[in-house]
């Protein structure tokens, strides 16, 4: 009788372990740890996910005013390219997605046209005085050229993968098309890009 009882408990234990293991394998049980806990003789420290832009915005959230990303006196057919660096300053792999929105009188259908090139580098030629500014971005565009007069995904899911300590250049080209109407003279606009980094669990 005792042997049968022991056998049942052993059987139940095995089943319980299998249930627990299946939950772990399905990946439903991990959680975001935002604190560290110390057990006797050992220390558990949470990972750190930190997206920075040009080295700015350490820690969670924040807004970086990239005033260098601007241009004055644009005329139709001119364009300017800008490069920023998205960096993983933490120790967790993540993917970055982004949305963009421009506001102002120049942010209309036939106004400023934006292009976003993850991994691309910027190159500029010409002069403002001659009205020959020409910016280019290398690499494939994930957005544009198109206006950003409503919030749009400029880097759609699954996004750009950045490993810990890694960095990815991001090139943004801003152009005023030849079709821009004369009514846009003197108009202006500014843009806001919102980046979202989420950890990547699978290798």
């Amino acid at each position: 009788m005792r042997e049968r009882t022991r056998g049942r408990w052993l059987y139940l234990t095995v089943v319980a372990v299998v249930i627990a293991a299946s939950g772990a394998v399905a990946g439903r049980a991990w959680a975001y740890w935002n604190a560290s806990a110390t057990a006797p003789g050992t220390s558990l420290t949470a990972g750190r996910l930190d997206l920075t832009i040009n080295g700015n915005l350490p820690g969670f959230g924040g807004t970086f005013a990239n005033t260098a990303m601007s241009a004055t006196g644009l005329i139709p057919t001119e364009s300017v390219a800008f490069q920023v660096t998205l960096q993983n300053a933490g120790n967790v792999r993540f993917r970055v997605t982004a949305t963009g929105l421009a506001t102002g009188g120049l942010s209309v259908a036939s106004g400023l046209q934006f292009s976003v090139h993850p991994g691309g580098t910027a190159a500029n030629a010409g002069t403002a005085a001659a009205g020959t500014r020409s910016g280019t971005c290398s690499g494939a565009a994930t957005f544009g050229p198109a206006p950003l007069n409503s919030s749009q995904a400029v880097i759609a899911a699954p996004g750009v993968l950045i490993a810990p300590a890694g960095a990815v250049p991001l090139c943004i080209r801003v152009a005023l098309p030849a079709s821009a109407p004369t009514a846009l003279q003197g108009q202006s606009a500014s843009a806001t890009f919102s980046f979202s980094a989420s950890q990547v669990n699978t290798p």
Partner: protein, 173 residues
């Protein structure tokens, strides 16, 4: 001796139901995991479009050969911007007819002089004593539709020189 399977006791059924429920809860339905994330926002500076600026009112001077024969009116103004060119329209005042029109495209830099010579041949003058208004407007060379909001108007008139022909002179008749 034969062995008969004993019926499963009640506790076994309860345990089986519990186990199935646990597995179902852990593998189905809405996920309960959380992930690290970070939100970073970047704002740009300002992008501004150019505004085409009108040139100053041209200075008109009478030019011509000996004794002013076959003379013409020369309009001169300062080049505003290297990106500009200037359209002109010459309208006969008494009837509104467009006598001539065209574009002056300076080759020089901003600040250099731009000239437009209004001669009798340019406006195909047939009669003396006729007033003409010369309208000059700046525009972008790269985008001709982008023009200055204001234009300048300079009046000239035709003059009959006996035995020689018609000349153009600055100012109204």
């Amino acid at each position: 001796m034969s062995m008969q399977p004993s019926p499963k006791p009640r506790w076994w059924r309860r345990f089986a139901v519990l186990a199935v429920t646990c597995v179902a809860a852990m593998t189905a339905g809405t996920a309960a995991w959380a992930v690290f994330n970070d939100q970073a926002t970047m704002t740009s500076g300002t992008f501004t479009a150019h505004t085409v600026t009108s040139q100053a009112a041209p200075v008109c001077s009478n030019q011509g050969g000996v004794l002013g024969l076959l003379g013409f009116a020369r309009l001169t103004w300062t080049h505003v911007d290297a990106r500009y060119e200037y359209t002109y329209t010459i309208v006969q005042v008494n009837n509104g007819n467009v006598a001539a029109s065209g574009v002056v495209t300076p080759a020089g830099a901003a600040g250099t002089a731009v000239t437009l010579d209004v001669s009798s041949s340019l406006v195909s003058v047939g009669l003396p004593g006729v007033n003409y208004d010369v309208t000059v407007r700046a525009r972008l060379k790269a985008a001709p539709t982008w023009t200055a909001a204001t234009a300048t108007v300079t009046r000239v008139h035709s003059v009959n020189i006996i035995l020689i022909g018609l000349s153009m002179s600055c100012g109204p008749l």
